[in-house]
């Protein structure tokens, strides 16, 4: 099967809704240096970590063109961006290559000050020129980087170099989310003399060799800017064609860790005392999305009826083998603005009467799905069974990933998968009119106005209030049936330590931060 196309990269590129105050508060702390989980003294140095991931030849080491989870994994270890997304809740970022990011009151001018004394792998010191080069490379109209949408407010021709470490961004439109746009590998800072054939970054590991679809070998960067890290000598990321072989390789000791595994793999590993299973509980979700510009889902009564048909606890059990949390038709539970609203439960009678009112009793509808991400096809099938109780016939259309993606925004009734984020970041792609990932064709002028206000204010309290209003709109009339939040499962050897669940957005293996990993 093809590796999952990562909608996650996009969402991480367009990160969350905490105010500048929160950023400033964590600004002086060095990311993760204090929270390294090693109960028995300092982490041991040395060793080679071998990770098995599902992927294919569609691999790149060029951070700005990362598209799969495997690309993200590699980029996280070769490069750094201005910020790090924290693994902890609520969703927030910590400073990485930026020492500070200041926004003016109406969020139209951002000033980025870079950390001092950071060296690229080839010895060059990080300066303002590298940041400007990076931005222009991502926004190059001849070959846009993947973070183009995240940096939509940035004008590549209106960047002012204040001094050797400071750049002023004069934004096209207000963007209070600006600091949170820099948490993804797709915004990695590259040196002005960047050569994709011999990639150089500031990350904890240096490039040694890379064969797309086979393996990547990285070695320790002794000059990494976080003192003492990383602990491992080498990281090998090995590509597997399918899960059976990858699990066998773990059992046979050919790899030390595998990421994003299916619950069935846990049964295969069984009671083996050699492995640890890590469960990451996040807002990663696989909503059933209804196109609001077409009948029958242009009628809000039908959308609400469909939401009332879902038996959420049964969905957790049957579609996800218990590895999921119940959701309430709103995304992004880690967002500080996420409101507490009554939990929606299955109510077949209410659903039937809503459908009757809409004149659609006993309707038939086709749900288009794809095995692109584990749980999609299962949850579609479980939904079809549950809908039958309300007299609705749901036909399942299961397509190959490329065939599905080719008409991604055309399916009238479909389910997809999205990383956890915050509403200030995810709104523009999935819900704003004309958004690149607006698969429901959601068109809500009032909501869009609230979102624009959110981008204009740097006051955390106001951001929370506005974000809450957006969530409320989704709850009352939104295009998604958000039935559950899917857990992510990783399995690794008990000899390893330093993996922490990346609860903020649900990525695998502690979001692949191998600089924190060591052998016991």
């Amino acid at each position: 099967m093809a590796p999952p196309l990562s909608r996650r990269s996009f969402l991480a590129g367009g990160t969350g809704a905490i105010g500048l105050a929160a950023l400033a508060a964590c600004g002086t702390s060095t990311p993760d240096s204090s929270s390294n989980p090693s109960p028995s003294g300092p982490p041991k140095r040395g060793g080679t970590l071998r990770v098995g991931s599902i992927g294919g030849t569609k691999d790149t080491l060029d951070a700005h063109f990362s598209s799969t989870d495997m690309d993200q994994q590699r980029s996280q270890n070769l490069y750094d961006s201005l910020m790090y997304l924290s693994s902890e809740l609520p969703y927030h970022l910590e400073f990485a290559l930026a020492e500070s990011i200041e926004l003016n009151a109406d969020a139209t001018v951002a000033t980025v000050r870079l950390r001092q004394g950071v060296e690229f792998h080839h010895g060059k010191t990080l300066t303002a020129d590298d940041l400007i080069f990076t931005v222009r490379r991502i926004l190059n109209p001849d070959n846009y980087g993947r973070a183009k949408t995240a940096l939509a407010a940035v004008n590549p021709n209106d960047l002012k170099k204040i001094d050797d470490r400071t750049v002023q961004f004069n934004l096209i439109t207000p963007d209070s989310m600006f600091p949170k746009r820099w948490g993804s590998a797709t915004t990695s800072i590259l040196p002005t003399d960047y050569d994709p054939a011999n990639p150089v970054g500031t990350g904890p590991f240096k490039y040694k060799s890379f064969t797309p679809g086979a393996r990547s070998v990285f070695v320790r960067n002794p000059n990494y800017w976080l003192e003492g890290q990383p602990y491992l000598d080498e990281v090998h990321i090995i590509t597997f064609a399918d899960n059976t072989s990858r699990t066998a390789a773990l059992l046979a000791g050919q790899v030390d860790a595998i990421d994003g595994v299916d619950p069935t793999v846990l049964a295969q590993i069984g009671s083996s005392s050699k492995f640890e299973t890590m469960i990451t509980k996040s807002g990663f979700y696989q909503p059933i999305t209804m196109r609001v510009d077409l009948a029958p889902f242009n009628d809000v009564r039908v959308r609400q009826a469909f939401r009332l048909m879902v038996d959420r606890p049964a969905m957790v059990k049957q579609a996800y083998s218990g590895y999921a949390e119940i959701a309430n038709d709103m995304p992004n539970p880690a967002d500080p603005a996420y409101p507490t609203l009554p939990q929606r439960v299955q109510d077949i009678d209410q659903a039937k009467s809503l459908l009757k009112a809409a004149g659609l009793e006993g309707m038939t509808v086709t749900l288009t799905t794809t095995p692109e991400n584990g749980g999609l096809v299962n949850s579609a099938q479980v939904f079809a069974q549950q809908a039958a109780a309300a007299g609705v016939t749901v036909k399942i259309e299961n397509l190959s990933p490329t065939a599905y993606d080719a008409k991604f925004k055309d399916w009238p009734f479909t389910n997809g998968y999205w990383a956890a984020s915050v509403i200030g970041l995810s709104y523009s792609g999935r819900f704003l009119k004309g958004g690149g990932a607006n698969d429901s064709h959601w068109d809500d002028p009032a909501g869009d106005a609230i979102y624009r206000d959110l981008l204009k204010t740097t006051d955390p309290a106001l951001q929370k209030e506005l974000g809450g209003k957006l969530f409320q709109r989704f709850y009352e009339m939104g295009p998604d049936i958000v039935h559950t939040f899917k857990n992510n499962l990783d399995v690794y050897s008990k000899n390893l330590t330093g993996f922490t669940p990346f609860n903020s957005n649900g990525w695998s293996l502690g979001a692949w931060r191998y600089r924190l990993v060591s052998f016991k």
Binding site: R7, G56, T57, R146, A241, R246, A248, A249, D405, A437
Partner: protein, 318 residues
């Protein structure tokens, strides 16, 4: 005589290869989606789609794309993969080598084994050895290839014994010849899943031969049985055996993909599936045409070998 036959066959082969390349090109463009969708997923803006389409040259007319590719095939410039930074020749070259090593090792084991078991089964026709062999080959041919692969992993790598590596994660920095330990398990799986066919063919051919008049005559002459089998029977059965093994090799060329997938063996079949999934047109076309060319050559060589092993055909040809 042989010259004109060779020329005719080669010309026919070339024509077929060209037709196949057109067919593949048309088919892959009929599939929904292209390399750009595959690379960008669905979050990208129309400008991103446009810029990447231009970058990959997919904005050119289809005929131009096809002509560029086929020209490159003859001048040795096979172009670049649409989805990775590698050139088509780099991808196809290393994957072909890996698959060739696996197929050759499998044939080296399978050939003698199939001839030995098939012959013995024919000699013991209807007795215990033959019956056991019949049941076993029937069972083996009934098990799907991937299940045989999983069983091999279960027995030899993970659960029962820990003799072999479970996954053939070949280090691309080193030659596959230095990592033959990683080829053994998929080789066993390939042999087990393919061998019923040549065993049955060899057995049938030998039973035929053993019932013929000249074998009876040889036996009546009082020749020792060993001599009858090796000098007379086997040599006469050689024609059908070569055909059986050549057909097995043809199956192997296409069918090895299942084994490659189960073991994550970086061969040409696995690459082809990936390339189709990503709509990586130049890689798909090059691999399909190369595989077809190999089939043409194997067929031709097998026919020649049969001709040389069969005196009647040999005199006709030369």
């Amino acid at each position: 005589m042989i010259k004109s036959m060779l020329i005719r066959r080669l010309a026919g082969g070339l024509l077929m290869l060209w037709l196949i390349s057109v067919l593949v090109f048309v088919t892959i463009h009929l599939l929904p989606g292209d390399a750009v969708t595959s690379l960008l997923g669905h979050d990208a803006t129309p400008e991103q789609f446009e810029s990447l389409t231009r970058q990959l040259g997919l904005d050119q007319p289809l005929l131009t794309q096809y002509v560029t590719w086929i020209k490159g095939l003859f001048t040795g410039e096979w172009g670049s993969s649409l989805v990775s930074s590698l050139s088509v020749s780099d991808i196809v070259g290393s994957r072909m080598e890996n698959t060739a090593v696996l197929s050759i090792m499998a044939m080296l084991v399978m050939g003698p084994l199939a001839i030995g078991i098939g012959t013995l089964s024919a000699i013991r026709n209807g007795r215990a050895f033959d019956n056991v062999n019949s049941v076993l080959t029937l069972v083996l041919s009934a098990i799907p290839g991937f299940a045989i692969g999983v069983l091999v992993i279960y027995f030899f790598a993970t659960n029962v014994f820990h003799w072999l590596p479970a996954a053939s994660i070949i280090d691309p920095e080193k030659s596959v010849w230095l990592q033959l330990d990683l080829v053994v398990a998929p080789m066993i799986a390939a042999v087990l899943s393919m061998i019923p066919y040549p065993i049955r063919m060899v057995r049938a051919a030998m039973i035929d031969v053993l019932q013929s008049d000249y074998i009876m005559l040889a036996r009546l002459k009082g020749l020792p049985e060993r001599r009858v089998i090796f000098r007379h029977a086997l040599r006469n059965g050689l024609g059908p055996m070569i055909q059986a093994l050549a057909l097995t090799l043809l199956f192997l060329t296409g069918g090895i993909i299942v084994v490659e997938t189960v073991f994550s063996y970086p061969g040409v079949g696995y690459e082809l599936v990936q390339a189709v999934n990503h709509r990586d047109v130049p890689v798909v076309q090059t691999i399909v045409v190369l595989l077809a060319a190999i089939c043409v050559v194997i067929n031709l060589l097998a026919d020649l070998a049969v001709a040389f092993a069969t005196p009647r055909l040999r005199t006709k040809l030369l």
